[in-house]
Amino acid sequence: MKETPSQSGDTGSSFLEEVIQATPGDPRLEMCIQCGTCAGSCPSGADMDHTPRAIFAMIRADMREEVFQSNTPWFCISCYYCTVRCPQEVHITDLMYTLKSMALRKGYARNTAWADFSKTFNEYVFNYGKAFELGLATRFTMRHASLRDIPGLAQMGMGMMARQRMSLIPQKINGLESLQKVLTRAEEIEEESR
């Protein structure tokens, strides 16, 4: 099984251990040498309030509060540059995902545009089995986009529709019921295993 700090004689930070355990595969977080390649490679690194490297240091220092409040994982665009460049092959992108779900579960980042976008998207996935751009766009934009943006976005939306690139009604998959059962059970298992 994956090596946890207590076994590897690392700092023994229980937070570090939790993050590793909550990530699929072996994320190798305990191997981070703090070189900063991830932070240097990150396209949105400039917008993060802590660089990924700093976040990892904070995890080792058990700074839960600061980590969960940080926008860092939410600004991860999943470009995987950090993951492929990391000299220690730490699964950085996967770890950012872990931090997002942990933060939400612990009641952080609620009602932020970042989290809400994902959640809105996921609700459509859960309720229809498919993504629904228009609904996503409208529901989400209405709630978060600044007035200045809306005309532009609306215009874009119209353009999309003019080219039949947006459907007006969401489609449902036939096996929706079974899908929902599956997803619900998955969440339960996740909880139990925690």
């Binding site: 040498i33 703090q34 070189c35 900063g36 390649t37 991830c38 932070a39 240097g40 490679s41 990150c42 690194g45 400039a46 802590h50 660089t51 490297r53 700093a54 540059y81 460049r85 000299p87 220690q88 092959e89």
Partner: protein, 669 residues
């Protein structure tokens, strides 16, 4: 329990000694219990004394054993401690000093193979008992052996004409020993000859190296074979036969006076990927550099117009001594030597493997070796530090550490010299151009005499240090001031912010790695490589220049990345070791050999084909096979293959091994 082995030996008096090794063993194994158990449970197997002691290898520990041998009349000794590769000799010598045949002493490992790899004390203790029992049953079947003495041929082979090889060769030659110095390049000097300055003293590399090259070149005790490669190795320590291929130079060394007219007149100019690291040009007939040793040029067949088109011969026309010989052929030499020193060095990491640093794509990204040539007074720009255009002086320079090192995708180890070489580059750039210099590092590693002082000196000179591994080098301008520049993007991890630093020139401090042919060479000489590809020392700390193969030694960067002082030190060390062997005149080898009992040999000749050393010959008249002990290396393959069981493998006989297995299985919860 008692051994029910068919070949029960006459009762021996066996002494058992269990080592604590401080807490190394005692921490995980109940050593007192193991000793107690052996004393009681192994009585019937001949154990008459069983003790445990804090450090068996200490003089007190050894004396304890010797005392028992004398006073208790022990005929066999088993020590349960560390790996035989560490202390077998120690304890066998101790026994010998007490008048016992050393080969009647067995060392079984309960440290490397038990206490260090297990955590459950009860189980580790049980396993230790089993290991010990195996040793006791085995030792009872040991037979007294005499080490084999073989004469040492006084000549030495040194492979590799870099600074390490030169050092080793000179030490031996000055001591009056004859050395064959084989270098596959056309000149001595290796990488050091390419360098401009050497850290931290900044003395000119060539100035300190070339005198050594010259003395090696014309030393009466050194047979210098450049442009040559070892193609065959046979024999064993003290007695190797080396086959060397002396490649055709197409220039007769007996006639050439090194005037250089041929090079001057040669019309063919090619990029010099060798000495000039691809940054300069050379002719098709060339000497690597002016101070090359020997001075004789070589003709590069791939590029020589005559060899391609069959015409030209300009060199031949103008050579004043008629030394050009287009019909020259490779020469094959065979020489006898007693010892072999491998100093074949390293190669630099190919920066093209990291595309995000842009080497090969972005003109003004240079490798460390390119910069050495660029800054070298004898280099393509005469020491002028310029951009790839050969004219423009850079105003800002970024130096990137750890290129190809400390990275799981390339080389995981630290290349040891990069921090210091980078600091050297920074100093040289500032000195020659006054440019602003940025150093991008992960950790600053300066562990050497006046190394850290040199780091401070760079700080003093105004070099700017950014702690962060560079993410990418790009020519994609994004912000004002970036146009036409190379932008180095990295996190400045000390302020936790992403930075984009526009520079004119980037120097990649490329790491060191084993040569592409390292594995083949290792195989040729019968030694082994680590996972990284560096050659493995007999003992990392105590035998840094010996290998597992008697008579084959390693020194310099072939063992792992090193700076010049360390390489030179190893060159001298390895010479001292070899000198010692030569002075002894002969060397004693473990008597692990096979012999065939003529009475039992059926003459089936199965063993004959099995021996890779041709040590087994067949006597037509007697119709039996016989082993030549001088050639036998003791692998024992023939022993286990003999259908008649007529072959004995001394030191590892069937009886010994079967008994050991029985012992190992005797303890089980």
């Amino acid at each position: 329990m008692a051994a029910e082995s068919e070949t029960k030996q006459p009762q021996e008096r066996i002494g058992v000694y269990v080592c604590h090794c401080g807490s190394n063993i005692a921490g995980t194994v109940d050593v007192a219990e193991v000793a107690r158990w052996a004393g009681e449970e192994l009585k019937d197997d001949g154990v008459v004394v069983s003790r445990d002691y804090k450090f068996m290898c200490s003089s007190l520990g050894q004396e304890m054993i010797q005392k028992d041998i004398v006073e208790q009349g022990l005929t066999r000794v088993v020590v349960a401690a560390c790996s035989p590769h560490l202390h077998e000799a120690t304890f066998r010598n101790a026994c010998a000093r007490a008048g016992m045949n050393p080969y009647l002493c067995e060392l079984v490992s309960i440290r490397e193979q038990c206490s260090w790899v297990h955590t459950d004390k009860a189980k580790a203790t049980e396993k230790s008992k089993a290991i010990l029992a195996g040793g006791v049953l085995r030792v009872a079947r040991d037979t007294p052996l005499e080490p084999m003495r073989v004469p040492i041929h006084p000549d030495v082979l040194v492979v590799g004409g870099g600074v390490t090889g030169i050092q080793a060769a000179l030490e031996l030659a000055n001591g009056g020993k004859h050395v064959y110095l084989v270098e596959k390049d056309s000149t001595l000097g290796g990488h050091m000859a390419q360098l401009d300055k050497t850290f931290p003293t900044l003395d000119c590399s060539a100035c300190i190296l070339t005198p050594r090259m010259v003395s090696a070149g014309n030393h009466p005790n050194i047979t210098l074979l450049t442009w040559s490669e070892v193609t065959g190795v046979s024999g064993y320590v003290g007695n190797f036969t080396i086959t060397i291929r002396k490649k055709a130079r197409f220039v007769r060394e007996d006639l050439c006076n090194g005037c250089g007219v041929c090079t001057e007149k040669c019309p063919k100019k090619v990029v010099d990927d060798g000495f000039e690291a691809g940054l300069g040009y050379r002719k098709a007939v060339y000497t690597a550099f002016p101070q090359a040793v020997p001075k004789y040029p070589v003709i590069d067949v791939e590029n020589c117009t005559y060899f391609i088109k069959g015409t030209c011969k300009a060199c031949e026309k103008f050579c004043p001594t008629g030394a050009i010989d287009f019909n020259q052929e490779d020469e094959i030499l065979t020489v006898p030597v007693g010892n072999i020193i491998l100093a074949t060095g390293y190669q630099t990491f190919d920066a093209r493997r990291i595309p995000q640093y842009g080497y090969g794509r972005l003109a003004n990204v240079f490798t460390s070796m390119e910069f050495e040539r660029l800054s070298n007074a004898a280099g393509p720009t005469g020491g002028k530090v310029t951009l790839r255009d050969g004219k423009t002086t850079p105003k800002t320079v970024g130096i990137i550490h750890c290129v190809g090192s400390r990275d799981k995708k390339y080389n995981e180890y630290c290349s040891a010299i990069c921090c210091m070489q980078s600091l050297k580059f920074a100093h040289v750039v500032k000195e020659r151009t006054g440019a602003q210099v940025y150093e991008f590092y992960i950790d600053m590693r300066t562990p050497g005499k006046s190394y850290d002082e040199f780091y401070l000196r760079n700080l003093e000179e105004g070099v700017l240090f950014v702690r962060g591994r560079v993410a990418e080098v790009t020519d994609v301008a994004r912000l004002p001031g970036e146009e036409g520049k190379l932008i180095i993007q990295a996190e400045d991890s000390l302020i936790g912010k992403q930075r984009r630093i526009p520079v004119d020139m980037v120097i990649l401090s490329t790491g060191l790695e084993p040569r592409d042919d390292a594995k083949e060479v290792a195989k040729l000489f019968g030694i082994s490589c680590s996972a990284d590809g560096w050659y493995i020392e007999r003992h990392v700390k105590l035998e840094p220049i010996s290998t597992m193969t008697e008579g084959v030694f390693i020194a310099g960067c072939v063992v792992g990345p090193k700076d010049i002082p360390a390489s030179v030190a190893q060159g001298s060390a390895v010479a001292a070791r070899v000198y010692q062997y030569i002075q002894q005149g002969e060397i004693s080898l473990e008597p692990y050999r096979a012999t065939i009992n003529a009475e039992e040999c059926s003459g089936c000749r199965i063993c004959n084909d099995l021996c890779p050393f041709n040590a087994i010959s067949y006597h037509e008249e007697e119709q039996v096979s016989e082993v030549n002990p001088a050639l036998c290396q003791g692998c024992g393959t023939c022993v286990s293959a003999c259908p008649a069981g007529a072959i004995t493998g001394w030191g590892f006989s069937d009886e010994q091994i079967l008994a050991q297995i029985e012992g190992l299985m005797a303890v089980r919860s």
